[in-house]
């Protein structure tokens, strides 16, 4: 008895089991504790919603060639700075593999996205139509300053860049430096006298005067962003945009809730039709809802994004959960195990049910592994977008088989164990008839296996 699996331990006491024992069982206590913890986590930490639910954009950039980690860090840093400078606060820039970058921006309308990253940023500064500086010459850009209506952005350039610039700027104080980003003229500040003496300087600055201090502020910010983005070590191009408005996102959320509710209702009706026992509908519903809360709890603690793909995963997990509960119920209700002791029979039945449940869970997890692998190794590009689906399904299935299903099994034993006691004599007569293969008819069906036809 000492080494039997946990899912049959619940059968001890069998028909004598009562509600008090049920509540005291460690699996039931574990479920209740985890439920409370999940609700606590969800209400304090919240659930991180995917971009397709809260509205926002995801942009996938491809670098011209694969780069090492250091270069990749520089690329993501520059992009991050650039987006922040544009006043976008909730932005995430992360590398995916060694050649792609994914940018997530929350709460931005789709049409504004391209303005932010639509120009991947090739920076060129010209003097008299000759290239004086380009993006790779810029090493660091310092914070801009504004005094009255005058602004300035200091930055440092490479020695080589400084020499080219100095040669071209020699004796040309007051000549405009035309700064282009992706071929568009963004600013043309004039060369200061200190830079027109032909001496190379790696510390340079651009400055200008506007009509108001607000304009000066905006222009300084703009120039700083241009200079920073020009410093991308490799050229990048947009390969994918996925953008959803907040309106559509909330439409998706409502829809998902309604769909979940309706799905539960459909399952309730089917369970009722099959077993004709309203009291069975409730535990199956409660178990499904408990699984939903636990999955969301895990997502909340791990800061996992719940997006549409994850919702599909939750549906899949709860769907297999309902299947498993049907299997448990049918096994426990099944007649024909030839034994005098109800307890042994019940234990045997639960064992049978859990063999099928573990086998099903194993195949589902096996099928999800490749997807999860792509998601974790490559990040959320391509099919990795579905990693949320795989992750949620696997987590949901694990929660199901280890936490909620044993409790359900215990509950069913408690519920039907009582029935067993009441119609014990009836059962005995059925057992005798069984060899004659008589179809049972006219049974009131309480706790009976309702056969099809």
């Amino acid at each position: 008895m000492a080494h039997e699996p946990w899912y049959t331990q619940m059968v001890h006491g069998g028909s004598q089991m009562n509600f008090k024992e049920f509540i005291k069982d460690y699996r039931v206590i574990l479920l209740i504790v985890l439920l409370v913890a999940s609700i606590g986590a969800i209400s304090t930490l919240g659930i991180q919603q995917g971009l397709d639910l809260k509205g926002g954009s995801e942009i996938q950039l491809q670098l011209a060639q694969p780069v090492d980690t250091g270069t990749m860090d520089k690329v993501t840093n520059v992009l991050d700075k650039r987006l922040n400078a544009f006043g976008v606060s909730d932005v995430q820039v992360r590398a995916s593999g060694n050649q792609s970058v994914i940018i997530e921006i929350a709460g931005v309308q789709p049409q504004d996205v391209a303005k932010l990253v639509g120009t991947p940023g090739v920076f060129i500064a010209t003097i008299d139509n000759q290239t004086a500086l380009n993006g790779t010459d810029i090493t660091t850009v310092k914070p801009y300053s504004v005094t009255g209506n005058t602004w300035s952005v200091p930055f440092t350039v490479t020695l080589q860049g400084a020499q080219t610039f100095a040669k071209l700027a020699d004796g040309k104080a007051g000549t405009p430096v035309n700064m282009y980003l992706d071929g568009n003229l963004v600013s043309s500040p004039e060369i200061g006298a200190d830079l027109a003496n032909g001496v190379p300087s790696t510390d340079v600055q651009v400055s200008g005067t506007e009509n108001s201090s607000a304009q000066a502020q905006a222009q300084a910010k703009n120039i700083q962003v241009v200079l920073e983005s020009g410093a991308l070590p490799v050229s990048v191009s947009i390969v994918g945009i996925n953008s959803v408005s907040a309106d559509l996102g909330s439409q998706f959320k409502t829809g998902a809730l309604v769909a979940g509710f309706l799905a539960l209702l459909v399952i309730a009706i089917i369970i009722f039709i099959r077993y004709r026992t309203p009291v069975l509908v409730l535990p199956i519903m409660i178990t499904s809802i408990a699984e939903l809360i636990l999955i969301l709890g895990v997502a909340s603690v791990t800061r996992w994004n719940i997006d549409l793909a994850a919702i599909a995963g939750i549906i899949a997990a709860i769907g297999t959960g309902v299947d498993d509960q049907i299997i448990i119920t049918d096994e426990v209700l099944k007649k024909g195990i030839q034994t005098k002791r109800t307890i042994t029979a019940l234990k045997f039945k639960i064992n049978n049910a859990f063999f099928i449940i573990f086998a099903s869970a194993a195949t589902l997890i096996a099928a999800m592994l490749p997807l999860a692998y792509v998601g974790f190794s490559r990040g959320a590009t391509g099919i990795g977008l579905l990693s949320g689906f795989a992750f949620t399904t696997v987590v949901g299935v694990l929660i199901g088989i280890f936490i909620t299903r044993p409790v359900y099994a215990k509950f069913i034993v408690l519920l039907l164990g009582k029935d067993k006691k009441e119609d014990k004599s009836e059962e005995a007569s059925v057992r005798e008839k069984r060899t004659g293969k008589q179809p049972k008819k006219g049974k009131k069906g309480k706790g009976k296996k309702g056969r099809k036809q």
Binding site: Q111, G118, A359
Partner: protein, 283 residues
């Protein structure tokens, strides 16, 4: 004698039914081909909230003029709630150009574009994911049952489900997309549930006759299938009426409905048939 008993009596010829449907599905796939979604083929998809009534043709010409993409590569469909979906095949159109094109009559609700490079990567990943999912599932089934014929029966049933589901995608114009691939992967793991139930009950139990055990399993299996198909139909209908643009959920639900219905036939006609044949041969 009930209908189920009659069906159970002539199980050998009935194996052929799922096989024929699978072959038909293969024929549909080979002749009709499979549409590819924007996320795999590359291209752009824009969901618009219309501010005034605009015909699909008008929308197409507006977008075509602005982006320079030939009009025959652009499709537009109205999805209710005054929303339209514009698809631009082949190219990742510039979001600014598209926005400018429709600015006067609509606002952009969502925009999704995938360049050719990304789509090529995804396509390779799709094939690998499907192949490995099926392989891993098969290995798991072999480990569970450790009998060659019953394991192969389960795996064949799963293969039928996948092929029939893909055939259904071809027939109903459901594109091969990340979402439908997700559904196919789910089907690989999900559809074998009833096969495992059946094989366990028939192969590993000793009480009752094979037919009795099979009928017991059938009762459970039909309830499982009804619950799964029922909840997917609910999801599909909600998406259809409440959120026509949630294509991920729409495609997952549709593929699973087809696949799970195919699974009912594959499990109870083919898998059970092969299993009985095998068990009776071993008497």
């Amino acid at each position: 004698m009930s209908m189920i008993d009659k069906i159970l009596d002539s199980y050998k010829p009935l194996i052929i039914i799922p096989v024929i449907i699978t072959l038909l599905a293969l024929g549909i796939i080979l002749s009709g081909g499979l549409k590819e979604g924007i996320d795999l083929k590359g291209g752009s998809i824009a969901v618009l909230q219309l501010n005034e009534p605009v015909s699909n043709d008008q929308l197409i010409s507006m977008v075509s003029n602005s982006t320079g993409v030939p009009a025959d590569l652009i499709t537009s469909t109205t999805t209710g709630n005054n929303q339209s979906t514009v698809q631009i095949a082949g190219s990742a159109a510039d979001v600014v150009e598209v926005t400018n094109a429709i600015n006067s009559v609509a606002t952009l609700q969502s925009y999704n574009s995938v360049g050719p490079l990304l789509s090529k990567q995804s396509m390779t990943q799709v094939y690998y994911a499907l192949a490995f999912a099926f392989l891993f599932m098969s290995i798991t089934v072999f480990i569970i049952f450790r009998h060659i014929v019953p394991s192969i029966a389960v795996i064949l049933a799963a293969l039928c489900d996948i092929i029939i589901a893909i055939g259904g995608m071809s027939l109903f114009g459901i594109p091969l997309s990340l979402a439908s691939v997700g559904a196919l992967l789910m089907l690989i793991g999900y559809s074998v549930d009833t096969d495992i139930l059946l094989t366990t009950r028939v192969l590993k139990r000793r009480e009752g006759t094979i037919i009795e055990r099979a009928k017991d399993a059938m009762g459970t299996g039909f309830t499982m299938a009804a619950a799964a198909i029922g909840s997917m139909v609910a999801l599909y209908l909600v998406v259809l009426f409440l959120m026509p643009n949630a294509e991920i959920l729409d495609q997952i639900a549709a593929v699973l409905i087809i696949g799970l219905m195919a699974d009912v036939l594959a499990t109870w006609l083919m898998n059970l048939g092969i299993l009985r044949w095998y068990m009776e041969g071993h008497r």
